[in-house]
Amino acid sequence: MATKRSTACSPEQSAERRARQRWMSALAKAPFGDLEALWNNLPSKPSWTVIRAPEVGMVMARGRAGGTGARFNIGEVTVTRCAVRLDYGAVGFGYVMGRDTRHAELAAVVDAIMQTPSRREALERALIAPLCLRQEETTRERGRKAASTKVDFFTLVRES
């Protein structure tokens, strides 16, 4: 076996991995409409071949009680995955929740381009950054709405 997968990796590799996790997560969480609109605005797009046609499957989502406690299975969610190869060789993967095959394919294409150092920065600015920004806004908005319903319970201590 030529390539053995190892969990240990150099600092550069783990930085690269974290960067990729960030953009893959942004692509997966983005609403398809946003992603498509930003994609359509791009000036130049490479052509690609689908090496694994989009397919829908199930994965078990797991959670931790209270965010830090013991692991438990929340339930199965549908996931669509796809793999593409750009004409100049880069391979990209898309894993998105739900059954939107176009979303998975587009996420895979963007992942492939993001792995090309010469094109990464432009695409980061045009596509990933706006998606991240929008997601942060959504999170903040949701947090604000939830915070407004917060109730502080206190007990009056009767002074005697």
Binding site: M1, A2, T3, T49, V50, I51, R52, A53, E55, A83, R85, G89, A90, V91, Q115
Partner: protein, 200 residues
């Protein structure tokens, strides 16, 4: 990621295409020696034949260990099969559910898994890449699925295979099955088919 850049595409429509290949293999097994055509993949990593790749993509998955003959092993082939089938590759062919080998360097048939009397279906199905298949009367096939006899010619097969095949037939209900492949054509020899070589 450099290692991932040479993966060739799989089926265009994973569901319908693998069903079509399954049907072709089913027909081939039901009518031993009759040729079936599977031209669903046109870009496969060398030295894999398009039909062997199609059979693997349709039948091999994480539950079926695969053995690849040393002369057919290449990084591109391994990456392709591991990516599309998700299978494990084994070095011991007696542990394989599927095996791929070339006809000229086909290893001894008794080295593959033959299953056991309780579970004869656990034997190895060997995909044999030949130089050509034709309905010429070099070999005469008889057995279930053939009304009287059927003619088949397999090019590039190493010597002594058909004697080993007769020994394989004696093991019934155990024994291996062969899927003969040439380009996009395939024919099957289930363990029940008796093969006689034409003299001269």
């Amino acid at each position: 990621m450099a290692a991932m850049t040479d993966i060739k595409p799989g089926f265009r429509d994973p569901v319908l295409d693998s069903q079509a290949v399954f049907r072709a293999v089913l027909d081939a097994m039901a009518r031993p020696g009759r040729m079936q055509s599977v031209s669903l993949l046109d870009d496969v990593p060398a030295p894999l034949a398009p039909a062997s790749a199609a059979v693997c993509l349709a039948l091999v998955d994480q539950d079926t260990p695969l053995w690849i003959a040393p002369d057919l092993k290449s990084h591109a082939v391994e990456t392709f099969l591991k990516f599309h089938c998700g299978c494990t590759l084994v070095d011991d062919r007696s542990k394989a559910a599927f095996a791929i080998a070339s006809a000229s360097k086909l290893p001894a048939l008794d080295g593959f898994a033959i299953g056991d009397d309780a579970y004869p279906e656990t034997s190895t199905t060997v995909i044999v890449q030949t130089k050509g298949l034709a309905a010429d009367p070099d070999l005469t096939l008889r057995g279930p699925g053939i009304e009287k006899s059927h003619s088949l010619s397999v090019q590039g097969m190493r010597g002594g295979v058909w004697r080993e095949w007769a020994e394989n037939g004696v093991l019934f209900p155990c024994g291996i099955d062969l899927i003969l492949v040439a380009g996009t054509t395939l024919a099957a020899l289930p363990r029940t088919t008796a093969v006689t070589e034409q003299e001269g």
